[in-house]
Subunit: 351 residues, 3 copies
Amino acid sequence: MSSWMVDRWYVAAWDAEVDRAPVARTICRVPILLYRTLDRRVIAMRDACPHRLLPLSMGIREGDSIRCRYHGLKIGPDGVAEEMPLKTERLNTAICVETYAIAEKHRFVWLWVGDKAKADPALIPDFWPCSAEGWTFDGGHDRVGCDYRLLIDNLMDLTHETHVHAGSIGQPELMEAPIETASEGEAVTVSRWMPGVDAPPFWRGALKQDGPVDRWQVCHFVAPSSVIIDVGVAPVGAGATLADHDRQGVRGFVIDSMTPETGTSCHYFWGMARNFDISDQGFTARFKRQQGGVFAEDIEILEAQQRSILANPDLKLRAYAIDGGGVRARRVIERDIQGGPRAPSNESIAA
Amino acid sequence: MSSWMVDRWYVAAWDAEVDRAPVARTICRVPILLYRTLDRRVIAMRDACPHRLLPLSMGIREGDSIRCRYHGLKIGPDGVAEEMPLKTERLNTAICVETYAIAEKHRFVWLWVGDKAKADPALIPDFWPCSAEGWTFDGGHDRVGCDYRLLIDNLMDLTHETHVHAGSIGQPELMEAPIETASEGEAVTVSRWMPGVDAPPFWRGALKQDGPVDRWQVCHFVAPSSVIIDVGVAPVGAGATLADHDRQGVRGFVIDSMTPETGTSCHYFWGMARNFDISDQGFTARFKRQQGGVFAEDIEILEAQQRSILANPDLKLRAYAIDGGGVRARRVIERDIQGGPRAPSNESIAA
Amino acid sequence: MSSWMVDRWYVAAWDAEVDRAPVARTICRVPILLYRTLDRRVIAMRDACPHRLLPLSMGIREGDSIRCRYHGLKIGPDGVAEEMPLKTERLNTAICVETYAIAEKHRFVWLWVGDKAKADPALIPDFWPCSAEGWTFDGGHDRVGCDYRLLIDNLMDLTHETHVHAGSIGQPELMEAPIETASEGEAVTVSRWMPGVDAPPFWRGALKQDGPVDRWQVCHFVAPSSVIIDVGVAPVGAGATLADHDRQGVRGFVIDSMTPETGTSCHYFWGMARNFDISDQGFTARFKRQQGGVFAEDIEILEAQQRSILANPDLKLRAYAIDGGGVRARRVIERDIQGGPRAPSNESIAA
């Protein structure tokens, strides 16, 4: 009775979060252990020794293997036992721990949730700005005490910025720009095109020139649980359009990928990819700190929302005009789950 | 399966606890938001935005309305939407949050729990000493981790003072005075009349004269969940009787009103109304501090009792002679609930 | 649906833990109160006043009786009411609290869990080294957040010392000595005989002579939930054998008795009895501190194991060669329980 898609890739970690030392992380209710082999491959296995279930993350890595800290069963990177607790006992290679398909791409470690036989790296969401030439990308990771879908709702509707981020990035004029919501297959897009406006200071600094700009904000829901927000400005007359604004100005992508931990908690991987000032590490560090502060404002709201949902079991979430993007994203998820096991939802659409 | 009466007024707050800023309080398992309009009316509404359920108590009051801090839905004091999150969206006045009937009387804010159509201010318990001419009233509010009925038991039997309040107000001689328990309709009374006794220091100070006194303690259970204790002394010969002791001496009422929060927690509103030294604010402040200290002794016992009830599910509460008042009060509650849905009770009467 | 044997004696406390002041302790899910009478008998009763269930452990001992701190009901050491809350109320000696059979032996206070009529002191496990002439015994008590059977598993297999106690007592050579597992009736034994080995420093100091030794470690499971480990060394040639090593060298018994608190927590009573340097109190104190430190390493592992069992409900504990002793001990327990109500087990044997 899970509320997430299966047979999908989910972000398990930032690339830099996983190194030789074991990292424990619960993903879609399963305790998982992550570490890298000497040749830098990421290994993911169930974080429980097949012998007496002590978390293997408490164990000791020996070469590319993990030795359990309770009785010393040694497990290789393929999950198969390599040494019994008692050296005199004959090795039983039927003893093994479940391992998971892993792929590393676009600065993230992706874990396949579902039937391992179906894991295909070609299915990894295309976060191209995170790894393309001429771009730079950095960000952070927070554990949030809410259903991951509340974060999708949040990100597919940027009008919340006015209220939640009143003290930081909220700009009332965003509320006045018309939005367009579209979907095709599993993709959902919420677009805001603001032609001939004053550039806010951040974007003027990025563009390094004065004068009116065409500005855009395009939120993309990417199944199973990411939101990529294409943001930027181009000088008026440079020829940028909603359909084509790749080379006319400065551009960034707010990257948000949510991985369920339990039904009411998730991992939030967030960051910013940009195609300007890409060698300015001071800019990168300052922006990451600012973005972390903005998302802390969201987290306070989202965790309060989750507690309120649990405290008001007779009430349902309602959707208004601004929620079109989130509603469609939830439909994509639910449709997919219903193909498999049925997911309960407290969403009622009153658009 | 609640253990409290419905279609009744319950104390939601002291009058002074509620002002312009929103106050969040769970009453009978429902998260409630309280605030005052500019003309000082108290508004009570479900503490969850009808849009995405963020607690409205996290919102911002604008005039007499509340604006949700997530997407900015604005709700009027009648609970009806006044402004959509997106200014361009047509207002849908079908969007509303549940509001509750409120009455202010005897220094308390009362909230109607049940069918709003039946809310009748005439049904508010008559706490006359809290607001009568020639009387003064003050007190406090504590959240207690116990079933509210354990507090009723506690207050309908003052013999516990000897043990629980040994270090403060406990007086062994109270144990020797005979008590009389009576009930009529929903009213239950436990009376103790002590003729020709020495006045304890507190009462001698109040009376401002020496010599023997007639002393009384009369506990009144007032449905659905209050206990009012009429206490005082009159000089011997002044003609005071159990039936008539209103003007012969000095008199106070210990006011106790318990409002269920959950099945195992409640709000405890307590205070003292008195008809002597009514302008002596120093006395009022000192007495409130003392009363708070005495009730803290009760709270320690009551929360331990609640934990023990849960830890010993095979045991039942038993009633002895001293518990007659509490037993009858619980019967009043249970009889009323059984008219509605059946309430479980772990009370077994062995009087 | 309990996972422990009933109609058995369990350790409730060290003798010195119980004195005149009431001690509260939950044993096999039942809140229990322990104290001593003036003539030093230990009394055990349900820790809930029969009146309103306040823990009697919050009460005041008066002579050999306990007076409840709520309304003053006085309970004698036989569990029968001796005084009502109201002195004028006729004493009802049908009012009583459940008492439990208690026996004091081998430095422990034992409590009979089950049908009191069957309590027979002859059934107390024979911890003779804890009280025999020429021996000394001391130890400690910890509350551990795990099923008591995980501690039995732990103690019936000492190979875990190499990994869990790598920084303290772990010795890899123990892993190489062959073990023999035997059982008869409810007794289970895991024996390790190491002839002609170097004595480790601890044992050389105890033996007070150099030269090779015969060394032994014999783990005895003693139903319902103790493990006694016979350890020691004798000079080569002194004639010690696995069957007879009582007088040829120095010997100690690691005493471990586990008493269930809930299904996932227990009391751990541990200590060391020895037949050498028995008057050296400094040795006793130092060894107890060291042993406490070693067991703290186990507790960290055991509580992590318990959490992992709960977090991985689809996985089962597996048994390898080293687990033979624990597996047989669990079978003894399960067989006994199945005679009564069926106990669930997550043990799957793959030895």
